[in-house]
């Protein structure tokens, strides 16, 4: 069993995989007769993407300052964040 991946890596993977799945699902919904199957796949992908986005907010600053740069300009995670 490999070491557990860092949470940031997991949330980024959820976003990327969610985007790909959502697009394939929306294509099926748009172009085939299986509208509800496609919609279901699309919603599952969007759900995964939103889950990844929701995990990102408290743990990752939006801007990573350059080494030696003005660190006070970078938004910080809330104090209560793990």
């Amino acid at each position: 069993m490999p070491d557990p991946a860092p949470p940031e890596l997991v949330s980024r993977a959820k976003r990327v995989i969610g985007m790909f799945v959502a697009m394939v699902g929306s294509g099926i919904a748009l172009e085939s007769a299986a509208v509800w199957t496609g919609t279901g796949i699309m919603l599952a992908g969007l759900g995964l993407m939103i889950w990844g986005l929701a995990e990102r907010a408290p743990t990752t600053p939006w801007v990573v300052p350059e080494p030696g740069g003005d660190v006070s300009a970078a938004p910080r995670a809330p104090e209560s964040a793990p």
Partner: protein, 254 residues
Amino acid sequence: MDYYPSILEQAFALALLVFILGTAVVSIRAYLQRPHDLSGVRGSAVLSAGIRGWYIENLAPIEEFFVRWRVAPAYLSYAQLVGSVLVTVCYACGMVFTAGWLLLCTGTLDIIDGRVARRTQGGSARGAFLDSVVDRYADSLAYLGLAIFFRSSWMLWVVLFAFLGTLMVSYVRARAEALGAECKVGLLQRPERYVILGFGCVFGALVEHMTPWLHAPHYWLVILTVVVLAALSNASAVQRVVHVLGVLGERSDA
């Protein structure tokens, strides 16, 4: 009578277009705000080093998972092959948007398997051979699907011409390297082809669904994409032939 998309379908296609473009803009802006070392990333006229760096960064978590779970790169190549068969099926069924998106997925798997191979096994000759063979099948399957899609139109000839150019781009490099000449030039290499054809199909299908009132040939943006691809891939093949002839000529003169 031609198929005419409903208002709901047109609105859904518009929402998809906005979602794709919006996600790309937000992601690229966030990427550009961070400092990056792009010294190891090779750019081209079509795909700059910045765009390649952005895409590779987005793929990094998936690549990391494959490395951590010790997934053999060969399995990723097989997945790419299965994805390519699905691309053909989607084109044959007229599902151009889905085919374009799956094409981008298979192209992504091609990038990931090489990177995983370099990180886990150091890139074996067996893996490199398998990767090349799967790449040729993947290319051929995509064009087979397009040929089926355009089977009753003059576009069939353009698709075959694009297929010829794509095969020659790969063949010229393989033959040149077998003769000991390096051949990495070319306007349109594999990632560029995937991006142009994939996004051309994705946006072409969305525009087709959004603008049924437009008096233009069906899937005109896809047609334009394949015409550009045919021209540029054959130009790349000729560019490589000229380059290799120059290199081999210099060697025989020396």
